[in-house]
Amino acid sequence: MHNNPILRISTKILFAPIILFGLYVQFHGDFGPGGGFQAGVIVASAFILYSLVFGIEAGKKLFPPNFNLILLAFGGILYGGVGIVSMILGDEFLAYNILGSSPQSGQHIGILLVEFGVGLTVSNVMIALFNAFASYDKIKEK
């Protein structure tokens, strides 16, 4: 696939809009359909498309595996962390009301952060899984 100009150029054109759409789904989840799970998958698909067309090594150069693993864990920590912070501020675990000046703004901040955590974990798990499967091949041959 590396030498097919149509694939290479269309991937380069599509990459940014896919990420943009992922971010839209991520942060527009409060107002329309969408949220962390869907957005994470969409963002992951952009990176997987890149890896498919330009090769797994180029994909790993674009998005280093170490960074990938850190973000993978960070999503869950962010979700739990929001709960812990709301506990420290004097409310129950994952009660967002206390996070903002008014209950509604607290809920807004809480939901935004929590959804972002979900998105991070989902997208990075998908990318990590794809990388693991795709690099497994070469190891097996040796």
Partner: protein, 192 residues
């Protein structure tokens, strides 16, 4: 009403034909593609039920990313599934019995969209009434998912995380063997 019925009948026909094709096919790549198509039709089905969020998830996760992951994993499978030698009578029989029981039970279910159904009496009215005031965002699905049911979503996230880490741990064994490739072959085998 009649148009809805027609659309549903159309989608169910497509789903059924995909399901039958899935049973019949022995080529792995066709199985993966048909599963993806099945998910896409299921997403359309969710749209007719006005469940846009679920449809979105089904289309992106079921039809999109899981197909890619299946294709990535498929490379390690033989191209064709082996013909099964055991008898197909008992599985088919138990499937028909179970399906019959499920269809029989479905007659007792309340109609779709009926307001007096138990599911619409329990806690859902609270969420629908409270979402605007308590949470202040228009999408009730998000407010239930992230706020009212925040624990459950936390659990889901941890499940995704754990599944990812488990698969990585399984495949990583071979990766550590790869790093020692300068060493003689026997040593690699020992490590693996």
């Amino acid at each position: 009403m009649i148009s809805e019925l027609l659309i549903n009948a159309f989608l169910v026909t497509i789903m059924l034909s995909i399901a039958i094709a899935l049973i019949k096919t022995r080529t792995v790549i066709f199985t993966v593609i048909l599963t993806s198509a099945y998910s896409l039709v299921a997403a359309l089905m969710f749209i007719t039920l006005d469940a846009v969020d679920v449809a979105f998830t089904e289309a992106s996760v079921g039809a999109g990313i899981s197909t890619i992951l299946f294709l990535a994993a498929m490379a390690y499978l033989p191209k064709k599934e082996e013909e099964s030698i055991s008898s197909e009578f008992i599985p088919a029989f138990s499937c028909i019995i179970l399906g019959g029981i499920l269809i029989w039970c479905s007659f007792d279910l309340p109609e779709i969209g009926q307001l007096t159904a138990p599911i619409h009496q329990h806690i859902a009215p609270e969420y629908i009434r409270g979402s605007k005031e308590d949470i202040g965002i228009p999408n009730i699905v998000t407010s239930v998912l992230a706020s009212y049911r925040g624990y459950d979503t936390f659990g889901e996230t941890i499940v995704v995380f754990t599944a990812g880490v488990a698969v990585l741990a399984l495949l990583e064994k071979k990766n550590s063997a790869k790093k020692n490739k300068s060493q003689p072959k026997q040593k690699i085998r020992k490590n693996a």
